[in-house]
């Protein structure tokens, strides 16, 4: 029951995200856009390029979707509404996101195309740096909650959400989440301008549809993670818990998408350099800062 509810919510969220993304990138609000384009994709021929690595080519899109779904499984919508309340929830989310990288690597190598391969390898470099940031930011969060249970993390923010308690960690996590979801301005693996779609360049038809769906779900899970870890998840007055979760998640997703509309795409070197040289030291400082807050104050 829980699982069905969660998947339903996710799909609704993904749909809304897709609408938002269309609006952000084209400027026209088309509530039925995802349905029409999805149907169109299913109707089109799904071309397989010459001499592909067939296994990778076929497995990559579902793996992307599955990884995103797995990450969603440990994020609570409300106190009771969680698919798997794992003792290592906060670490598990990250494990799931790492498989997004694996999926994109496969998608990049599989179709035997230059743009796709460049995109896949770019994403590898990007995620290695930024999943590090995610883990480090989550360390500080788990320190405050004294637990890796995602539900405990939410409960620990009853007095003050983490976004205010540890603003540095919040900003870092937010940006790292955008990098993991390859949202513009960090959409280097797909980079429509220079790589002509990158990892998605060689995919057509229903495979592309699955991939887009997976990406939308991924954005939703990341937004949900931001809301759970930093914005107090289901906590909030008046409205029922699930509504708060949904509201916060959608809000975060909207902000993420909007940022991409106004910021130009970054250079690969800059992305890596800032991640390693600025982000990671800051994340370490954040851990130290939270430690001081917890032990001294």
């Amino acid at each position: 029951m829980n699982a069905v509810m969660a998947i339903l919510m996710l799909l609704v969220g993904a749909y809304l995200v897709a609408v938002l993304e269309g609006w952000v990138s084209t400027g026209r609000l088309r509530p039925a856009g995802p349905i029409t384009s999805g149907l169109a994709l299913l109707g089109r021929e799904s071309v397989v390029p010459r001499r592909p690595d067939r296994i990778f080519f076929e497995v990559a899109p579902p793996l992307l979707l599955v990884a995103a779904l797995l990450a969603a499984a440990v994020l609570p919508l409300s106190p009771g509404l969680i698919v798997a309340d794992l003792a290592t929830g906060a670490l598990f989310v990250n494990a799931a996101w790492v498989y997004v990288m694996v999926a994109l690597l496969m998608a990049g190598w599989g179709p035997n195309g230059a743009y796709a391969m460049v995109g896949g390898f770019r994403f590898l470099g990007q995620t290695v740096g930024y999943s590090m940031l995610i883990v480090m930011a989550l360390t500080a969060v788990a320190m405050r909650a004294e637990s890796l249970f995602t539900t405990e993390v939410v409960k620990s923010q009853a007095a003050l959400p983490n976004a205010i308690y540890q603003p540095v960690g919040f900003v870092l996590f937010f940006l790292a989440a955008m990098a993991v979801a390859f949202l513009p301005p960090l959409d280097l693996p797909t980079a429509p301008g220079e790589l002509a779609g990158g990892v998605m360049a060689e995919y057509t038809g229903w495979r592309l549809a699955v991939m887009r769906l997976g990406r939308a779900v991924l954005v939703v899970t990341l937004a949900a993670a931001v809301s759970v870890f930093y914005l107090g998840g289901w906590l909030g007055p008046v409205l029922p818990p699930w509504a708060w979760s949904a509201l916060k998640t959608l809000l975060v997703a909207a902000v993420m998408l909007l940022l991409g509309r106004y910021v130009p795409r970054l250079r690969e070197t800059h992305v890596l350099e800032w991640g390693w040289k600025i982000g990671i030291p800051l994340a370490l400082l954040n851990i130290f800062y939270v430690g001081v807050l917890l032990l001294v104050v």
Binding site: D53, F56, A87, L91, A95, M101
Partner: protein, 167 residues
């Protein structure tokens, strides 16, 4: 019972992927096969109720092996395996020693009396227990490991970096 089945299934997957690592001629495939082999090992951990280590194994090995794939592509003569080159040598010796080593370990696994089996572990306490272990009794070991990693990072960078003044 269910635990045994799951452990066995994931174990079979781990072995299957490990064999694929050395059977395929595409280097990226072989790196990703290793990835899935290690991921299957992580899943075995989960099946054996060792939650934290399982998740850690899943995370770490995925990153590690993906990086390995990039290095394979960079340094191999034929990363796609399209030329069908034979990349093995001293075949007979390797087969014999691999088989002997595996059989010896199997024999140990089957013929040693392992003593009483612990019935239950509570996953919820593991994270806490491991944390206390790390921060109290094994702290020195853990710190040593940390320093060792740092040293290895610096050493590896120093080896790999381009010499100043050359070229």
């Amino acid at each position: 019972m269910l635990q045994t089945v799951f452990t066995g299934l994931f174990g079979l997957a781990a072995i299957w992927f490990a064999v694929v690592v050395f059977r395929t001629s595409s280097m990226v495939r072989s790196a990703l096969a290793l990835l899935f082999s290690q991921a299957a090992i992580g899943a075995m951990f989960l099946a054996m109720q060792t939650e934290f280590l399982g998740v850690l194994q899943l995370t770490m090995m995925a990153t590690e092996m993906a990086i390995m794939a990039i290095f394979m592509v960079m340094y191999m003569m034929d990363p796609g395996g399209l030329g069908g080159m034979d990349m093995t040598h001293q075949k007979r010796a390797s087969q014999v020693s691999g088989a002997l080593g595996g059989l010896a370990a199997l024999a140990v696994a089957f013929f040693v009396g392992w003593g009483p089996i612990a019935a239950e572990v509570r996953p919820g306490e593991q994270v806490r227990g491991l944390g206390l272990e790390i921060m109290e009794r094994s702290m020195l070991i853990f710190e040593t490991a940390g320093v060792t990693i740092l040293t290895a990072m610096i050493a590896a960078t120093a080896i790999a970096i381009k010499r100043r003044g050359k070229e």
